[in-house]
């Protein structure tokens, strides 16, 4: 079944409009790592009882994630193929997708029917409001997006968009060097972090979420150190009275990060009393885990 049809079937989104309270489709996405072999984790969550959830459970519908890498106009489709967790109040499916590109993708998720189906509206099982009369039979074609989530983007000021991590073989174990290029072209990452192999490996597993183990705390601290170097460079540049320094010329990702720094910490790198180490540790505080040695043994 195909062709142009008006939207005559209910679509579940994050607000659950058209569905009763408590029914919704939510998605969260995180990117792990700062280097070329990054992983995207997408969590689909269907809350409340609904026909969408029933069809996912029965295999008549499946989660699907679309990625758009805008610079190269490259799209990828990743239908979910694993097991989902239906033990709690929500049905949850976690997808892990290896990212082929350095650019952070735009993530659009949906729930898609795998064949032509007919929905017989039934209250409250279908999860629909009375707008859809009980007993109505609604034909829904194969590939229909019966669940749809707004596109998720990774902010331009995310660390992954700011810092390009590369391995520098000449550096000894445990060493790294930050290079800041404030006037980097748009789309180019303004900071390059040259790392020894061991640091490079650790940063591949870095996530922006708060550290929960000693090893994650160590990775986070490496990034704090890098932020300190960036802030020190920008502070020096802003105060250099260089006639060529023009804030408008600064790479938009870096400028955006500076705005985020100011909003979250009250520290601006062009202030006279700006302190890079304080700003960096306010932005990404060191996490001291008192029992971290226990984590390390696990």
């Amino acid at each position: 079944m195909s062709g142009t049809i008006a939207l005559i079937f209910p679509v579940l989104d994050e607000d659950g409009a058209g569905f009763v309270g408590g029914v919704g489709y939510n998605v969260s996405a995180t990117i792990q790592g700062l280097s070329s072999s990054r992983m995207l984790t997408v969590e689909h969550r269907l809350a409340g009882p609904s026909f969408v959830r029933d069809w996912v459970q029965s295999g008549d519908a499946r989660f699907s994630t679309r990625l758009l890498f805008r610079n190269g106009a490259r799209r990828e489709a990743h239908p979910f193929e694993g097991d989902f967790d239906n033990s709690g109040e929500a049905l949850v499916a976690a997808q892990r997708i290896a990212l082929s590109f350095l650019e952070a993708p735009e993530v659009a998720c949906s729930v898609v029917t795998v064949r032509d189906l007919q929905l017989v509206v039934c209250h409250p099982q279908s999860g629909l409001t009375d707008f859809w009369p009980a007993g109505d039979r609604i034909d829904i074609p194969q590939y229909a997006r019966i669940g749809r989530h707004a596109t998720l983007t990774f902010d331009d000021d995310s660390l992954g968009s700011l810092i390009h991590v590369i391995e520098e073989k000449e550096l000894a174990s445990g060493q790294m060097k930050a290079e800041v290029k404030p006037q980097a072209a748009e789309g180019e990452k303004p900071v390059t972090l040259l790392c020894a192999r061991d640091i490079y490996d650790e940063l591949q597993a870095f996530t922006e979420s708060p550290p929960a183990s000693g090893q994650e705390a160590m990775r986070s601290a490496i990034v704090t150190q890098a932020l300190c170097a960036i802030y020190g460079h920008m502070n020096m540049l802003a105060r250099s009275e260089d006639e060529n320094y023009n804030e408008e010329d600064i790479n938009s990702t870096l400028r955006s990060h500076g705005e985020r720094l100011k909003a979250e910490t009250g520290q601006a790198w062009d202030d006279d009393d700006f302190n890079p180490s304080l700003a960096a540790t306010k932005m990404r505080s060191y996490t001291i885990l008192k029992n971290s040695y226990v984590d390390d043994e696990d």
């Binding site: 799209r75 898609v112 590939y143 789309g187 180019e188």
Partner: protein
């Protein structure tokens, strides 16, 4: 040029490698499929998934390549001012002289047009943004045309050369590249792009005027909102392209 060209830390010598094809001006402005586009494709190599492809979508990379070509004498700097509509030798030099000597109301526009042509030929994103690689810049267009053909050849088990000649001719490529970078990028999902290639190789697609191709692509865009066309097999999408073609009014 050296002071103002964004380089993204790309080394020109390494980027250009051993590429030593001596262009003519017309060939640089509009590289023919064979042999020049083939030289370009082979020089920069088939992209590995990921990293390389991202590099070849990068304005900085191509900007560095052009600079290196000028430095090695493979192209003349004045050719950067020549446009695709120029069909005579020394067009770039003539355009620069015209811009410098223009007077009256059109002087500013003549100069602006000339500067824009130079920026486009250097793959500088200022005139049109990053899509310049795919839409305007001759070397980038050549490489991507071959890249897309190779990608689809692998997906559809069709010879790359057949796709280049039958489905991704320069006119079709121009329309598809423009659509992909103007809100119609859903087209680039393998199954959708594959369906389009199959359609364009078929009897209906081969006779298609360019304007109609653009309309068909637009029509499919609306479907993408409610239907997962990216999960539909290429042959199913081919059927859909054919149906849309039949449904559009003539003209």
């Amino acid at each position: 040029m050296n002071d103002h060209l964004p380089t993204d830390n790309i080394d020109g010598d390494g980027a250009l490698g051993n590429f030593d094809h001596q262009f003519t001006e017309l060939e640089f402005v509009e590289p023919p499929l064979d042999p020049t586009q083939k030289y370009i494709w082979e020089a920069f190599g088939p992209a590995e998934a990921g990293g390389n492809e991202e590099l070849y979508a990068d304005c900085c990379f191509w900007g560095v390549v052009v600079r290196e070509m000028v430095e090695r004498g493979l192209v003349d700097a004045s050719w950067l001012a020549a446009g695709a509509s120029d069909t005579h030798d020394d067009a770039g030099r003539d355009n620069i002289e015209n811009a410098l000597s223009a007077e009256g109301e059109d002087a500013a526009k003549t100069m602006d047009d000339c500067v824009r042509r130079v920026l486009r030929s250097m793959c500088n994103p200022r005139p049109r943004g990053a899509r310049i690689v795919f839409n305007d810049f001759p070397l980038g267009k050549s490489w991507w045309r071959w890249r897309w053909a190779e990608r689809m050849a692998g997906l559809l088990n069709i010879e790359r050369e057949d796709i280049l000649e039958q489905a991704l001719g320069s006119s079709n490529y121009a329309i598809i590249a423009a659509k992909m970078h103007s809100g119609r990028s859903y087209l680039s999902a393998d199954n959708v792009f594959g369906g389009l290639i199959l359609f364009l190789r078929g009897p209906q697609g081969m006779q298609l005027p360019g304007k109609r191709l653009g309309k068909i692509i637009d029509e499919l865009a609306a479907q993408s909102a409610w239907q997962a066309i990216e999960l539909r097999a290429p042959t199913e999408n081919q059927d859909e392209f054919e149906r849309l073609h039949r449904g559009l009014p003539d003209g």
